[in-house]
């Protein structure tokens, strides 16, 4: 399966298992979603469980919160993460706080799916990575898969989870892994181990990171598309790096991070999102606090620049092989 099919399969599995799971969003019903993630679901489960909504993100999330309070398990879609901001009040002030402010009387078991990230010439409003806005909010979980297998297992876990979850889907790798070489032919998921996806139910627990490649020379912390970009760079450079796919940003798998950095003594953090106050800053602080005496070089962050996402200059902006390669040289400079 590609990632779209895996995500579709996760919703299919969950809708079959739990009559309270409903899917809603702009164009998700009859049409099956602008990325086809919900294709066939309305025909299979009916219009009362899979339906199109008006174009109002604050309405979509506000209504989902009310449905969650009733006892349903809504899976609303925001068409692009760039358009999640109108729903910010409902997510931050309501979904995230409902359990806390009602001391557990009311909850928001909602899973907000949203395609995110760049690398597709999406320009300013089809490329953003707003995860750092949500990792700053107590009460929500933030999940980002990097393979079809993980996407399905994590999405099932997110839907089953009783806390509100932001599920950001890296749309650059919907159809195949991407190593950052935009000028080479694109690959698809067939042949990639992450593309082997069981048709039935399985789950990958939230808050568990995955060691994508074991290594001794340095630790790379990444998620989404950047996992594949980092892997490509490492293989080309022949550096024995340990790549950790974080998968869940909050609550994060701190043990996996700590064990790796204490072993390697070096840490590089890579994300597409802009640098200042991005999630990389939190990761850097955590590593510094917990692994200080093991660090042999300053922690490196390779991120998007602190600018809006550009259109024509995308490949200068994107933290691709060139930029990661330079950071790699820097962090490995004193390695003997």
């Amino acid at each position: 399966m590609n990632m779209i099919q895996a995500i579709n399969s996760a919703m299919d599995v969950m809708m079959a298992r739990d009559a309270d799971v409903i899917v809603m969003g702009e164009d998700v019903g009859y049409f099956g979603g602008v990325f086809r993630a919900t294709a066939g679901l309305q025909a299979k489960y009916g219009k009362r469980r899979v339906f199109d909504t008006p174009i109002t993100e604050c309405g979509i999330i506000g209504v989902a919160v009310g449905m969650g309070a009733y006892g349903l398990r809504p899976v609303p879609e925001i068409q692009f993460a760039d358009y999640i901001y109108p729903a910010l009040d409902q997510l931050v002030s309501e979904a995230a706080r409902l359990r806390y402010r009602s001391a557990g009387e009311f909850t928001s078991p909602i899973t907000v799916r949203s395609p995110f990230g760049g690398g597709i010439f999406g320009g300013q409003t089809h490329s953003q990575s707003p995860e750092g806005i949500f990792t700053h909010v107590s009460g929500v979980k933030t999940v980002i898969p990097s393979t079809p297998y993980d996407a399905k297992g994590l999405l099932i876990a997110a839907i089953e989870d009783n806390d509100p979850t932001l599920f950001f889907e890296p749309k650059r790798i919907y159809n195949g892994p991407f190593d950052g070489h935009w000028d080479r032919p694109s690959k698809n998921w067939s042949g990639h181990p992450g593309g082997e996806v069981p048709t039935g139910y399985y789950r990958i627990p939230l808050s568990t990171a995955k060691v994508v490649r074991a290594g001794e020379a340095l630790t790379i912390l990444a998620y989404g598309t950047m996992v594949h970009v980092c892997r490509g760079v490492i293989e080309e450079a022949g550096v024995d790096a340990e790549i950790i796919d974080l998968r869940t940003l909050v609550p994060i798998d701190i043990d996996a991070i700590e064990a790796s950095v204490k072993k390697t003594g070096r840490c590089m953090i890579v994300h597409e999102a802009t640098r200042t106050s991005g999630f990389g800053a939190e990761l850097s602080a955590l590593v510094q606090e917990r692994c200080f005496y093991h660090l042999e070089a300053p922690i490196e962050r390779v991120t998007g620049f602190d600018t809006p996402y550009p259109h024509s200059l995308e490949w200068a902006y994107f933290p691709g092989p060139v930029r990661i390669g330079e950071a790699l040289k820097k962090i490995m400079k004193d390695a003997s």
Binding site: C58, G59, G66, M67, A69, D89, R99, A103, K141
Partner: protein, 427 residues
């Protein structure tokens, strides 16, 4: 040289609304159009929303100047129900008085009264079923009182004391009770509007028979959530009652800043394809009748209703507000629709089912009941004076299960408290 083609135009001018009376002004509300009671028609609850224009610009009224119930909206309630309604309204007022004073005595940080608006909440509660879900704003405490919710429990919340079910996590008056079908109140305005619509959609999707009702002030209708809620409610014909409590004031801003100079709030419904009723909010029978009508409309799958309750916020916005700074002190008494409690009392007296002596005795009895409840609640402590929630509860309920980083912070806090020797009780 060509002449400027705009040279002869009058300059544009920005209109900034201004309330009619400011502090010191003599108030004259005689030009507010108050249609006679009983005048408006009562449509069938299944009627097409497009036929409601006249009702959305008019004013549904039942109680006339002689306190008689007249016209097609008279809900013909028994004297016993009327007395219970009167009692719940009077109890709401007595509760407000007591809690306002408790704030002034430093027993809590904050309070908000609903004085003058008791009918809006109490009469609606009487017209809804006990398990219809309410998504209130912060000024519908009358819903809880009319539903017979334990007043000690409400006070525990106001005091954030050891008995507070919300564990001291919420600002006073932000009640929440699932058992009372009263949704957790949020400080963020109008967010409950789409949530109520979503709850109603869920009820319909599951083939339930319960409906939802929500309340917001006229000021908050300017929020985007109001628009998205109305759109969703209309699109999916959600079984929901959308109440707009037009009490003329949003803190210091008069209703003109929410658009009232140009239209009514009930009229907003028409553009969405929602049935709109504008109701005398100080007439408990009109509020009851409109709510019962809307509930029937919702329960028969005929769709949502927006009800504007035309009323007046008789007192300050909150304990942090001084209305004499922005409006004339003469406004509350000059308000042409009078006081909701006095009007219902007069109606019962007119029916020969009540008298001033019984009213006085009831008021005394209610004041005593509130006082007793307060005494009981204060056994659990008041804000900041011992008997507060255990410290470690601060971290509970952020997530279903406490993640490692919150456990770590919780332990850090407990260790810091231990080291500081400060008097916070741990358990």
């Amino acid at each position: 040289m060509a002449s400027d083609p705009r040279a002869n135009l009058k300059p544009l001018s920005l209109h900034v609304p201004e309330p009619r009376f400011r502090p010191g002004d003599v108030v004259d509300f005689s030009d507010i159009a108050v249609p006679p009671a009983g005048a408006g028609r009562r449509p069938d609850s299944a009627d097409n929303a497009a036929t409601f224009t006249e009702l959305a610009y008019g004013l549904v009224r039942v109680l006339d100047e002689e306190a008689r119930a007249v016209g097609p909206w008279d809900p013909r309630l028994s004297p016993d129900v009327l007395r219970r309604m009167l009692r719940a309204m009077a109890l709401t007022r007595a509760y407000d008085e007591r809690m306002f004073r408790a704030q002034r005595q430093g027993k809590t940080s904050f309070y908000m009264k609903s004085t003058g608006e008791e009918a809006v909440a109490v009469a609606a509660a009487f017209a809804l079923d006990r398990d219809d879900m309410c998504f209130p704003s912060y000024r519908q405490q009358g819903l809880l009182i009319a539903r017979g919710w334990d007043m000690v429990d409400m006070m525990n919340q106001v005091y954030s004391n050891r008995g507070d079910r919300l564990e001291g996590k919420q600002l006073p008056i932000m009640y929440s009770t699932k058992a009372g079908s009263f949704f957790s109140i949020s400080g963020n305005l109008a967010t409950q509007y789409p949530q109520a619509v979503g709850w109603a959609m869920a009820s319909a999707a599951k083939g339930d028979t319960r409906i939802a009702a929500t309340w917001t002030g006229e000021g908050s209708t300017a929020e985007g959530d109001f628009h998205s809620a109305c759109t969703f409610a209309a699109v999916y014909r959600a079984p929901v009652i959308l109440n707009v409590v037009n009490n003329q004031w949003a803190i210091s801003s008069f209703s003109g800043f929410a658009g009232a100079e140009a239209t009514t709030f009930a009229a907003r419904a028409i553009g969405y394809g929602i049935a709109g009723l504008r109701v005398d909010g100080n007439d408990a029978l009109a509020v009851y009748a409109a709510t019962a009508w809307a509930a029937e409309r919702a329960r028969t799958n005929a769709g949502p209703t927006l009800i504007e309750h035309f009323t007046y916020r008789a007192e300050g916005h909150s304990t942090s507000d001084d209305p004499t700074q922005y409006r004339s002190a003469g406004e509350p008494t000059a308000w042409p629709l009078g006081d909701p409690i006095a009007r219902l009392k007069d109606h019962l007296i007119q029916l020969g089912e009540w008298d001033e002596a019984r009213q006085a005795a009831m008021d005394l009895d209610l004041a005593e009941k509130v006082r007793a409840a307060q005494k009981e609640a204060e056994k659990n402590g008041v804000l900041g004076h011992g008997l507060h929630q255990p410290l470690d509860t601060l971290f509970e309920g952020v997530y279903e299960e406490m993640p490692w980083h919150l456990r770590e912070q919780q332990q850090m806090m407990l260790d810091e408290e231990e080291a500081s020797g400060r008097p916070w009780a741990r358990k």
